[in-house]
């Protein structure tokens, strides 16, 4: 039972991460893209309104994933959050200034430039650094006997590989952002056309980065991977590529913005699934010269009773969360129209 629960929670953590990646992915992407695709205040307002009703709920997926990691694998939570201290703080400051920039931008136009800048920087920091963090737990970090990070603060976390994973994450966020902007901006409009045009190059870059990161990971990083999951890894890797290609082709040819967005999202889910299958059963890899061992299911999982209650909480909570999401996305379906902007 214990083994089943810890394996279940290993994958549930990644389900929550996938939820975050797909949902907050597009709104972080819009934050980073906004200075480049929105040319005036009205277009910026359209972009904010495109994510206004949903971004806050999307961000809660990150908090849920963090809380669940804390509860299910306390050692992994403690080691990564304290080991990546300055990087986590940068993500945090990003999320903070971003969160307030929405409401303050609407309520205080004379400081609009400051809040626009906060929206951009606050979106860029998490969009880039979350991928860097993933690169580190995948490639491994040096740990001492107590399981604490033993490398150089911040600078020690930046290697060619982790930079590439950071850029891959950023490219996926941006591609998702362009898909969402193309889906929600009024049709026809310059903003919509710009966003739609941007999908192709961003997805090509994401594909290229995915190929580079994959080869790099297999050849130069080469951590041990569970041989039983080999087929799944190939399947999800293929899905990442197919999803991106499908989104790219649909976006280019048919102009069906919803399908393009969904294919992009499927590709992002597959990327997280691929990561989970490549990591299992390790949560945080250790470098070769590390004193402490890698953090795994075996040495980091909470007790059986704790995981049982977490499962009960999730079984009640997750269906509710999904219902809320259906409600909000249905209520605000369709493109943003000028009347919506006056409302707020």
């Amino acid at each position: 039972m214990m083994e089943f629960l810890s394996v279940l929670w290993f994958f549930l953590i990644f389900v929550l991460i996938a939820g975050y990646f797909v949902l907050d992915g597009f709104d972080l992407g819009i934050g980073v893209l906004s200075p480049f695709i929105a040319k005036n205040d009205e277009e910026r307002a359209v972009l904010r309104r495109a994510i206004g009703p949903v971004w806050d709920g999307n961000e809660v997926w990150l908090l849920t994933a963090g809380g669940a990691l804390f509860a299910a694998f306390p050692d992994a939570y403690a080691t990564t959050f304290s080991g990546f201290y300055l990087a986590v703080m940068l993500v945090l400051f990003g999320l903070i200034v971003r969160a307030v920039s929405f409401e303050f931008r609407a309520g205080d136009p004379s400081w609009g430039k400051l809040w626009d800048a906060c929206f951009f920087v606050g979106s860029l920091l998490p969009a880039l650094l979350l991928g860097v963090a993933v690169g580190n737990i995948f490639a491994g970090i040096p740990m001492d006997a107590a399981g604490d990070y033993a490398g150089v603060p911040l600078i020690g976390l930046i290697t060619p590989f982790t930079l590439l994973t950071g850029l891959l994450g950023l490219a996926m966020f941006l591609a998702a952002g362009s898909c969402w902007a193309a889906l929600k901006a009024p049709l026809p409009s310059c903003l919509q056309a710009r966003a739609a045009r941007l999908r192709l190059p961003l997805q090509v870059i994401a594909l290229a980065l995915f190929a580079v990161v994959s080869v790099y990971a297999l050849v130069l990083v080469g951590p041990e991977m569970d041989p039983n999951l080999g087929i799944l890894r190939w399947l999800f890797a293929a899905l990442v590529v197919v999803g991106l290609l499908a989104s790219l082709v649909v976006g280019k040819t048919s102009g069906d913005d919803l399908k393009a967005f969904l294919a992009q999202s499927a590709s992002m889910i597959a990327l997280v699934a691929l990561l989970a299958c490549s990591m299992f059963p390790v949560l945080v890899n250790a470098t070769a010269d590390s004193v402490g061992p890698a953090i795994t299911l075996a040495n980091a999982a909470s007790s059986e009773l704790s995981l049982t209650w977490m499962t009960i909480i999730l079984c009640i909570g997750l269906p509710l969360v999904l219902v809320y999401h259906v409600v909000i996305y249905r209520t605000f379906r369709g493109r943003v129209n000028p009347a919506d902007l006056e409302e707020y």
Partner: protein
């Protein structure tokens, strides 16, 4: 100065600073959430445009406040891992679940239905909109429940045991851990304080409009809602505060000793004000009711409670160094909180009486001023209350309470992150001060603007437009323009 390089001290400063700041905005959003929901329910029944305008006004104020609450709340969830890694390892088996539950059950509810409130007036039915306002408030109350379950477990651990190698607290009984001895008292005490805060802020806004002689109808309606919520919550506080104190008396002897400045065992008297002379280990107070605190705790004037020096001799509390205990701070915080409650009660009664006695408050400038200043009292009470609760449990982060399981306790200094250094902490502390200051200024500007604009009903907006049209058509002279602007102002007031 050693303290400047002490990671434990710096981590505590950072946590104290960020949590106190977070708790400036949480009380406002939970408190105002109720005012907002009541307002929207009034609109749902009346369908008057001015009631819709009132809701819109509160939604705007609420959202700007809620945004900071959310943003600074992320800091709190992250900081257990970033700054208190060893603490997280020790309590993760128990403490993580309420945090995950808070996100699943509360944060999603709040944030998603706030999206409906902000953008959905024209898109959902009036009933759905009204229900959304209550769901947002329910979400914020649920959030408070889960985080207070976690916090109360740190004060009075239960349903757990120490694992074999003594490095972790492991859960043995979920319900005993969640419904630990202090949760009911502390939850009701805290949430009631937040509702008082909301009522007083509503009073302040209404009082300000009365002083300025504008938005008269909105001001009076708001004052009525605030007066009722204020008096109910202030009266309920007597019960909740008392039961909270009973928990401290029964479970946390060192906190009680600090609250009353008891270095040596004694029958605790009741002080209104006093000074703790930490060097000579005594309380200097102008007057005291002998045995008063003993009476409140037990119903008789003779029960002796142990002092810090006696407690330091016991095995359970032996880690405490009496000379280092922040007795003065806890004593003053606690007594200041109680004093603020006196002002809260007084304000509640005055506002209630003069609001419902023919609305006489509309002409009483001194009471309007008292209303404008009134949020200061619950604000101080809430902050000092939390200082009492959290500084009072030092030097432990997981407190060895009287009924707590053996060995399930952790010294604060043992809970830090070993991989975080003092210079890194200085850097992040500086950034927090800078970013949080900008946030505070930004928030004040936005809220100031909302209050200045006030609630504007649809009808008034139309009247404004008409006035502008008059100005445009009749560009003969400044006098005409001035008259038209004045007329627009008048019609605005009537519209409310």
């Amino acid at each position: 100065m050693e303290a400047f390089a002490d990671v434990a001290v710096l981590s505590r400063i950072q946590f104290a600073l960020t949590v106190a700041y977070h708790f400036l905005f949480v009380p406002l959003s939970i408190g105002l959430g109720l005012i907002l929901a009541i307002n929207e329910t009034r609109y749902y029944r009346s369908r008057k445009p001015e009631d819709a305008a009132a809701t819109k006004f509160w939604v705007k104020v609420f959202t700007a406040t809620f945004a900071i609450g959310v943003a600074t709340g992320i800091t709190m969830e992250f900081s257990f891992g970033t700054n208190w890694a060893n603490y997280s390892r020790f309590v993760g088996d128990i403490f993580g679940a309420p945090l995950a539950a808070e996100a699943l059950f509360a944060f999603f509810l709040e944030s998603i239905f706030l999206g409906v409130l902000l953008f959905g007036r024209e898109r959902v039915s009036p009933k759905f909109y009204m229900v959304s306002s209550w769901l947002v408030w329910a979400g914020s109350c649920l959030s408070a429940l889960w985080i207070l379950i976690a916090n109360s477990w740190m004060q009075t651990p239960a349903g757990a045991e120490l694992n074999a190698d003594g490095t972790e607290a492991v859960i043995t009984d979920f319900f005993s851990a969640a419904f630990n001895p202090s949760i009911f008292a502390r939850y009701t005490h805290t949430v009631d304080a937040l509702l008082i805060m909301g009522a007083f802020v509503a009073m302040a806004v209404a009082g300000w409009y009365m002083l300025k002689g504008r938005n008269a109808e909105f001001a009076m309606k708001t004052m009525r809602i605030a007066a009722v919520v204020g008096i109910v919550t202030s009266c309920a506080m007597i019960v909740f505060a008392h039961s909270s104190a009973v928990v401290v008396w029964n479970e946390q002897p060192t906190k009680l000793a600090m609250m009353e400045g008891m270095y040596d065992s004694e029958v605790p008297p009741l002080y209104a004000v006093g000074i703790v002379d930490e060097d000579n280990q005594e309380v200097i107070a102008p007057f005291a009711i002998p045995g008063g605190t003993s009476f409140l705790a037990t119903g008789n004037f003779e029960t002796e409670y142990p002092g810090l020096n006696e407690l330091a001799q016991t095995e359970e509390y032996g880690d405490m160094v009496v000379e280092d205990m922040p007795v003065g701070l806890v004593f003053q915080s606690y007594h200041l909180m109680v004093a603020m409650y006196g002002l809260i009660m007084l304000t509640s009664i005055l506002v209630l009486v003069f609001t419902f006695k023919g609305g006489r408050i509309a002409k009483m400038r001194w009471l309007q001023w008292a209303a404008v200043l009134s949020p200061i009292w619950p604000f101080i009470a809430i902050q000092t209350g939390w200082i009492t609760a959290e500084v009072g449990r030092q030097p432990w982060v997981v407190y060895p309470s009287v009924t707590g399981p053996d060995g399930v306790s952790l010294l604060t200094a043992d809970g830090i992150s070993m991989s975080v250094s003092a210079p890194e902490l200085w850097l992040t502390l500086g950034l927090f001060v800078l970013v949080y200051l900008v946030l505070l200024i930004g928030w004040a500007r936005v809220i100031g603007r909302f209050i200045k604009e006030g609630p504007v009903a649809e009808g008034a907006a139309a009247a404004d437009a008409a006035a502008v049209a008059v100005v445009a058509a009749d560009a003969e002279g400044d006098v005409v323009v001035a008259e038209a602007v004045a007329a627009a102002g008048d019609s605005k007031k009537e519209g409310e």
